[in-house]
Symmetry: D3
Subunit: 340 residues, 6 copies
């Protein structure tokens, strides 16, 4: 099977037990996460070869970040070491009317201060058939936009399929800055993950209906945005998840994949949330796995949506559900029977 | 902004992790709580000056009770030290059909054995503009009724606004005893928190409808009780929360404020519960903050109800949600979006 | 009150905290459980004398298994010691679309390798009025079928009421093997717990309706299966629980008791699940308690169903709810009010 | 083997993890302990039949106290229920120069308020051959002195061997009060545990040497005190432990048994301490076991001292070491080899 | 009693439970610490008024840092808010041959980027009689040297006693940079804490003996260094601790105070270590308390040394031992007796 | 650098927190360990390529065992999957007079039931320069002896250096069985780890002195045994550790390496123990690293002994200390200074 290279930031995630707030918590649970790292773990978990590329500080935290990825089967020997620190973020879980709160302490991380010369993309991408990154990486500042471009140019040369999850983060850059950079980078992208809000914010692309009152309008908007993105940037595939935030505890969830002028919708899910971080990344990871496995568009979107549905029931950012778990959910909408 | 003095008992609260029962639990989590202490933390949390007055034993537990209040910004330098022990209570969380269970071990606590001479109210209330207590304090026994009266008389003299949450506890005294004492104390009260059940039990005041089958009847009863309380005792404001116990896991919640012959109702909330203890106290705290801030009746009841809604999603008795959190909920009924 | 003897396997149960997966968990919580042991704890908890009989290894884990039963009031002095090991099982909690997963490591446990000569049933059953076992015990292999038969024959001789929960486990034996053995053992059984699926799998008994689309059909099928079991094997009482798996987090639950040609149905419950393992065993335990207490059929099925409803809100396999808890639920469908 | 009845108070013990102070600790570990209860667990642990008699409140904490004793094999069916509360104590571990700190909250416990009529000693002591109590029990106040006397008189009548550990606690009563009561009770005592300090404080009995500078003087003082106690009260056996507090982390430890005019000394131990509470009680428990087993004086004091040495390496108050563990230590002074 | 103002950085400290390494730990315990903050807690703990001044980010971590200080009685209302982040450090405990490891992530903390205009020293130092800082604060970079000077000049003007703990940290600046800055700042210092190594590194001041083989030489060197510092900078008091690192688990410890040409030495301690971080800071805090209390030099050095001895037995950086604890240790070299 | 292949069993290790016994513990910490796996982690940790080969069950526990090795840098892609179960063992830490207790539940593990055909040694050993196993592996039963021989023969053919740690375990096989098998296997061994006790038990080889009273005698015996082993089996290198069990808390430790007729002794260490399991395995791992790095005999034994000294201060079986940690200890006998 084909090999995927993912590139971005991995951070230490620290969160209290259960629903404790940061003001009260006596301790914090440790995990390591980041958009592309989360996707990489999903991909490895489904059995594909996958590399995570980043720059980590040469200290025990940088070492552990790599070790945790390796634990979950991600290849880490292309990671570059150096720079001042590992980005960190703090999470308070949400419940009911209380939102999830994420506090980032990621400035001046080693990857955000990395140099173009740190990454020899010709060598890193040797033998790869997929490259995945998100809109967070170019937003990290410093030379990160240029580093992304360096990678994408080599991808083009080597005929590597490029997947990009737009993932606009307003804390990291303005809509204008994002728009300018992503417009340029999207030219290299074959598979684009983008939802309606991001399309509007970053690319100024709007859906057909102003009013999203109905599910039907929402799905049509999602399709229409995908069509415009595909047309404007020449992406072969555009995909999106549709999240309905009923509360911080319960969400609706479905997916759409647009290709060759056709939109494919997944089944609708509604779930109780254990941990919603990494939900979108698990969708990206499962999408790449499905496409690389040659699934047809319908099967692809069903698999990616079901996989990311299960992610929401799993602690921390990584999706640990197996291919069997996902298929079981697709087949019988798993009713919670005990698996002995 | 004005300063609030609160008076009552603070206890050590001990509860197992998660949904463990006391019969099984290997350990107990420590927090410190009590009706007025919980309200005091809410008030401090919203940025007002607030004192908590009580009597604590001169040992490490009494010291820690004060330290925890101070941590959350409550002034504790008017606390009196002495007496035998700190009251304690044990909590088992409820879920679904299983009720929350609270086991009190509060007899012979230092505050319940306090003397009138322990408290120099002239000095304690110096510079205060609000005084808050609940019906639990006079129920503690010993000289507590007299101590409350001493405080209330000084309040009257100093023109301090008095707020009282009726909070009838049948384990502490009979309806008759409560009725007799509260009838006397209510004469000093400007802002009274009382719901229909308490009005019936303690004051013999009934709502209009015997049958509470409809939400409309329930709300009208709530108003009608408030009107009678306001009329009989001359309270300027009477407020109440309306809880609908769907199960131990899910409750409905709304608030009503009655003033100048008019009833104001908040929005209706329905929430999954993390910890319901302190829910009413957070309503009292937020009400005092709103009134002291000069909010109009409608804004007051919306703020107090939304604040106490959020409390139910927070571990332990204290409401740690900020003014921003509360306003966000009021404005967009916070749908659980991630706050990054 | 009468004394119950239960016979079967008790295992060490190890599960991560909360919703952690076995792949992530840093530690495992210890409890001890097994179909008949769980029922025994329920019975002891309701105040009856009850023995648990098994074979445990002579090591610290076997010792602790007995100690935990003794903690909950089960008499353990008839347990036989020897053999290689204690069976173990690992549990991952389910939530929403993610199922509960149970991984057994029970092969070659001391009880599964026990000999007929290990148990002197004449002596063990001295003074007993009830004997309880499940279909798991004969499925353990070795001489377990014969040991069960030995016990049942003595029961017959001593006029001891025999209760059997069919509890078919496909990981332990085939439908054919189970059918052959259980057909023989059921001749000795007075009170049989069996649901429609088990009746079909093990005994080839089918309900009236192929289609279970309606609740009505489902309940009728349950009754019809019970009638056939009663008729074929001469059981005086046949009982069953009807679980509706809405998700791994929420289930519907009710019970049926069939006796003397009449079916009695309990109230319907719907609950959020804390831990669903041991749910059926708590039904069996409460059923035996109710019958031994001389409750009429309707009261029996209400008690057993309400008790097992509460079990689902309690951590680990044992039902710790008291007679008062159960009766309170039956009486007012406990709405989650705080019990102070 | 003979049956032992023990009588006294059992409390809930709450202590932080590791070396945390009560001011800092987020949670407290639960165990249940008391002088006689600890001894009872030791006795049960060595395989003898033993009853613990007390009065417990009829709530979940009282229920659990009994359950924990039952877990460790102590018979609890003679416990009386009623009264207001379970005594509680809080422990901070000591280390190096920092002392162990114990904070008691035991006033008004159910046992301290028990009535003479609560205990039918004729029935309780039926079939017993040993009775054990400590000087803490008569110090609890109320009718406790009288209750002890009631028990002792029945012991005398039934020819039951009485063991008493003087265990003077200055927080509970004065030296004078203790002296008066214990002088009276000691007339009934066959086996007395008393060290030099207690003998001086309670009975005004002094050792030979004022100066305890040498180990030799200390041991001789111990013997001389025992001789005087034996002579004055007619105790057949007097025993004591000699603790050398090098620091809160390391102690020296040995034992002496005096009988028939002869003193027998155990080996000397020096140990790192995991938990020193219950050390003396484990000596008492092991002493009773040894004597009841017919060990000669030398073997008795070696066994009791080695057992209580091991106790100091075990968490909480109970000694969980087995007869094999103790004998192994006696035989080869166990050098910490791994037991596989 | 007089009021102390302390100024410096407070960080979030994160460390695994027990002796776990950062590579293995599933979670990290939270505390908040820093040289001057630790001293401030000691001072508050002994009952003096004390302010901690710093700059904290306006987020939940900055808020909690202040809350934790307030919990322990430190006044925090002069703290300035703003800037990017809270400094963080990670700790692995040492044991035996394995050293304590501290990993700092403190660059770009709010205090290190603070501006001179952030602090109005005239106002901050109003009513203060002591000012305390360490050599870490000027080493933080940016305008921190100037801010220190600003503060010191106001101290001089207001006749405030200035205490400085040299505390040279080679990770923060070079010996040369430190030497230059500290030489200038020491002119304002009345009470200087400096040991031989720091004197050599920062000030180029050497003790008399090259060879420190004997304890006597070491103590004389300590005195000789103090004398030179006092002479060169006009410090009224120079004090130092003498640590002997036997292993990461056991240290020797004593103190020396030099004033008016005379050196005073404390008793020698040897202790098992629970947590050695904050040891020196607790010495500084206790020294200020002793001097402000008017203790004579001998009593001062005994108190400060005993207090800091006890700190090593307490988890995290703060010394929680009370005046009573310290005096008890001084008086009887506390032998680890249980305090009940 | 060269690649090492290790072969053996990896088990799930479960142990209570701190010093809790299995009878008391509410939870168990999870790690994964085994003689060769522990050595493999040491080797990977020092930066060499290393494979661990075994047979694991195809379930979540087998999957996690491999994941944990991969986390620490061990290559696991040659592991064979299948068979019934993962071996498990339970550990109670020792302290002072209380020994470490290990309870194995490893019978019928997948590796113990593995078949010769499971392992294609030609392929597994491709490119390897070292092979390491212990005497535990052939003791597992079934075809394990034959599988070892298969591997060793291929090693010989491929000129791979073979290292064997005798590690005799009396619970697994008799001295006679071990002697017969190991005598045969040792012919293939180049580097043999064996201490005097094992030499006597397994090979009937005795040291010079019967009496080991002096350290000198003990070291000479160690050398003499090594000489005999080298002579009889043609091992190029024989090495051993000398442990002095002062107590379960404190041990003495040194190492000896014998080669070319010469014995080289390491420095002597004495340490407080955090976790002594894996101590010998860390010696083996560090020895292989040193030899493969071309260290001379003296440097080799110093490195291996210092590395395994540090292991005793680290939780669980794996040695996580780095090359720098080890060299620092060798150079300055690390006195526990804080590493910042």
């Amino acid at each position: 099977m084909s090999r995927v290279v993912t590139f971005g930031e991995i951070m230490m995630r620290l969160n209290p037990d259960g629903y404790m707030e940061l003001l009260q918590a006596p301790s914090l649970n440790i995990s390591f996460a980041g958009g592309e790292a989360n996707a990489a773990v999903s991909i490895a978990n489904f059995g594909m070869d996958v590399d995570f590329v980043t720059k980590l500080p040469e200290n025990v935290l940088g070492k552990r970040a790599a070790m945790e990825l390796r634990k979950y089967g991600v290849e880490v020997n292309k990671i570059v070491y150096g720079g001042p620190r590992l980005g960190t973020y703090f999470v308070e879980k949400g419940v009911s009317q209380r939102p999830v709160k994420v506090l980032y302490d990621r400035q001046n991380s080693s990857i955000s201060l990395a140099k173009r010369s740190d990454f020899d993309w010709e060598k890193i991408l040797e033998g790869a058939s997929w490259f995945h990154f998100t809109g967070i990486t170019p937003a990290l500042g410093g030379e990160c936009v240029e580093i992304c471009k360096d990678a994408l140019k080599v991808c083009k040369k080597k005929n590597i399929t490029v997947c990009c999850d737009i993932n606009y983060r307003e804390k990291l850059w303005t809509k204008e800055a994002a728009g300018k950079v992503m417009t340029e980078l999207l030219k290299y992208v074959d598979v684009c993950l983008i939802n309606e809000g991001q399309a509007k914010d970053v690319l100024g692309i709007h859906g057909k209906y102003e009013d999203e009152g109905t599910e039907e309008h929402r799905k049509e908007n999602c399709r229409s945005v995908a069509e415009q993105v595909a047309d404007r940037f020449g992406c072969k595939i555009v995909a999106a998840t549709l999240r309905t935030s009923i509360s911080a505890s319960v969400n609706g969830w479905s997916g759409m994949l647009y290709t060759n002028g056709e939109a494919y919708y997944s089944a609708d899910y509604k779930f109780e949330i254990v941990d919603r971080l990494g939900g979108g990344d698990s969708f990206a990871g499962a999408l790449i796995y499905s496409l690389a496995s040659g699934y047809d568009p319908k099967k692809t979107i069903e698999f990616a949506t079901a996989a990311s549905c299960l992610k929401h029931t799993i602690e921390y950012d990584y999706n640990l559900s197996t291919i069997e778990d996902v298929n079981l959910l697709i087949q019988n909408g798993n009713k919670g029977f005990v698996q002995r």
